[in-house]
């Protein structure tokens, strides 16, 4: 069986700035992985390059369930099954969440499950009062994350990348987000959580932890890797990689 996500030799740069220097990563279906690393190590870049943001020169391979997505436009990657929950979700003034989800359905006519997933995700995440409001406009940090999790539920991807889903949240909100992520775990989905704190991992069982420093994955292991980092921080890796 294909892994949900398989990344090999992924590089990315902007002008002379090399940001990703050869990332290899495999996330099997049904698993939740964490990518940890200090600020500026390239974590958000990884998720944007996978999603196809045009700012970067990228090379290498990324497959969703065996299908190569590098080179595809952003929307085709989404329809191939990739979902990025943004660290800073963009505000779309004048467009309600309901309008967005109905356009998502219209853009993907082969999938007739949108209406049912809108109802289910809306119930599960208590989204009723947000659905008529403009996408991400005037929402608190926690509400934005919730809204992203809602869209993830509606999109029903094969791979979900959650970028700093825990940043800027108080501890209760972190717990809540952790529970939402936990409830995503399913045989048809691979999840990647990007974070620079190990905090959220206390409330969440992850299968593997990858440490990213200087645009490379420098260590991969079980949940114990996060515990080590909590004690020692990234110093060891930063020193080694420079």
């Amino acid at each position: 069986m294909n892994p949900a996500l398989e990344v090999t030799g992924l590089t990315a740069s902007i002008g002379d700035l090399e940001i990703l220097r050869g990332v290899d990563l495999a996330v099997p279906f049904g698993e939740v992985h964490a990518i940890m690393g200090p600020n500026g190590s390239g974590k958000s870049t990884l998720s944007h390059v996978l999603m196809g943001k045009s700012d970067y020169e990228a090379s290498g391979s990324a497959k969703i369930d065996g299908v190569e997505i590098m080179g595809l436009p952003v929307d085709e990657r989404a329809r191939a099954g990739l979902f990025e929950a943004f660290q800073y979700p963009t505000e779309i003034p004048g467009v309600s969440l309901d309008e967005l989800t109905s356009e998502m359905a219209l853009s993907n006519p082969d999938d007739d499950g949108y209406a049912a997933r809108v109802d289910a995700a809306s119930d599960r995440l208590s989204m009723d009062r947000f659905r008529g409001r403009a996408v991400n406009v005037g929402l608190s940090g926690g509400e934005k994350k919730r809204s992203e999790m809602y869209l993830l539920g509606v999109a029903n991807p094969k791979v979900a990348i959650l970028d700093e889903i825990d940043s800027g949240l108080d501890i209760d909100a972190v717990r809540e987000v952790a529970a939402m992520v936990e409830s995503l775990r399913s045989p048809g989905l691979g999840v990647v959580i990007i974070t620079h704190y190990s905090r959220i991992l206390r409330y969440l069982d992850v299968d593997r932890v990858h440490v990213m420093v200087g645009g490379r994955i420098v260590k991969s292991g079980g949940p114990e890797v996060a515990e080590e980092l909590e004690g020692a921080g990234y110093t060891e890796y930063v020193v080694r990689s420079t």
Binding site: D75, A78, I92, G94, N108
Partner: protein, 399 residues
């Protein structure tokens, strides 16, 4: 309230005198020059057809889609002539007070030729009024609408301009309103001429003490769709919300010159215009907030945002302030640019095709203004019209 009631004999004499003076003055006037600030950016190299001014109304066209959901009364003005039963025209003195003589060719021609503005006042204002202003052929016409909101009352008026044929014409429309003390006026103006018609519009609204105005202008049609608007905040505590939405395509010019004149103390204005242009269209917004020495405690803000949807399209956006009082709050913002890349990326990351992503962004851009149009069925009609224009341009590869 018939024509006979409002134009008494002395009034008629005054009007005749004013007409003849204007005709004389007209002989010495030529087209305004784009070197004058108020006409800047405009192509004024055309014949306004003053020799062919309409002398009678053409055939009245039947109601159309935008009128079907309207709950209120209708008044028709055809080629400048009020054709509805029981609707009079503003008296000479009312017109004189409501509409200043700008001294230029169009203002003077209007004084020489306009048959008289449809008078919408007490009695007619009990229900919302839809004024259907039609241009039926090539004749130059001078339609006027004068709204007189008595003190303490509430009025809703919509003025919709349209061409009933595809013929080119010059139209010099005027909208004037006096809003009495403690009165409120909700005025919506929809400019929907055919793409061969040049409309050189003029508007003046005067607000009494604590009077309120919500004015929304929707610019859709016209080879030239111009509105030179003054809102005079005369009464203490008078306040207005001035909204605008315009969408230009082909070789249209949509031209807005907005002057907010704060004369009374404690007055407040929020102005918010949004426009988009595609193909070779041009939009112009020049806004002036002028606060007189007497206008202390005024708060006045203006924002104009423009989307450029094709490489050949352009927008001029020039907000200005002129403040003679020292205890006021003012601000202005303006922007001209293409669709937002971050929004497109975000929407596409949710699986939207680029076409749908851009359509949704354009829809959202206008929603902040369309959402405030007081009549839901009119708002829906405007929404659909703008969406259709953009979708057609997408399908034809013009954006």
């Amino acid at each position: 309230m018939t024509t006979a009631d409002t134009i008494g004999s002395s009034d008629a004499a005054w009007m005749a005198e004013r007409r003849s003076a204007a005709s004389t003055a007209l002989a010495t006037l030529s087209m305004p020059s784009p070197r004058e600030e108020i006409w800047r950016y405009l192509d004024l190299d055309f014949d306004p057809g003053l020799a062919a001014a309409a002398t009678e109304p053409g055939d009245t066209a039947p109601p159309d889609a935008v009128m079907s959901g309207w709950e209120g009364s209708f008044i028709s003005v055809v080629d400048g002539f009020v054709v509805s039963e029981g609707v009079g025209t503003a008296s000479a003195s009312e017109s004189e007070v409501a509409l200043p003589d700008d001294g230029d060719l169009f203002s003077t021609a209007s004084r020489a030729f306009a048959p008289g503005a449809a008078l919408i006042g007490k009695g007619l204002l009990d229900t919302p009024v839809f004024v259907d202003v039609q241009s039926t052929g090539t004749a130059t016409s001078f339609p006027g609408v004068h709204v007189d909101v008595p003190a303490g009352s509430d009025a809703t008026v919509l003025v919709r301009y349209r061409s009933t044929t595809g013929e080119p014409a010059t139209v010099v429309p005027t909208v004037t309103a006096t809003v009495g003390d403690n009165a409120r006026l909700t005025l919506t103006v929809i400019q929907d001429w055919n793409y061969r018609t040049r409309a050189m519009g003029r508007g003046v609204v005067s607000l009494g003490r604590d009077a309120g105005l919500t004015l929304t202008e929707v610019g859709l049609g016209g080879l030239v769709g111009r509105l030179h608007l003054d809102v005079d905040f005369v009464g203490r505590g008078s306040h207005a919300k001035v909204y605008g939405a315009y969408f230009g395509e082909e070789d249209q010019t949509l031209d807005y010159r907005y002057f907010m004149n704060h004369i009374g103390t404690d007055t407040r204005c929020d102005m918010f215009l949004k426009g988009a242009v595609e193909d070779d269209a041009l939009s112009v917004f020049t806004g002036l907030i002028r606060i007189e020495e007497s206008g202390q405690k005024t708060e006045s803000f203006q924002t104009n945002r423009n989307l450029i949807l094709s490489p050949g399209a352009s927008a001029q956006s020039v907000p200005n302030l002129e403040i003679l009082a020292n205890d006021v709050k003012c601000g202005h913002g303006s922007s001209v640019g293409p669709l937002d890349e971050d929004q497109r990326y975000y929407l596409m990351s949710r699986g939207l095709t680029p076409e749908r992503a851009d359509r949704l962004q354009v829809h959202g851009f206008f929603e902040e203004v369309i959402d405030v149009i007081p009549d839901d069925s009119v708002a829906d009609w405007v929404r659909t019209r703008i969406n259709d224009k953009y979708v057609t341009a997408q399908q034809e590869g013009r954006v």
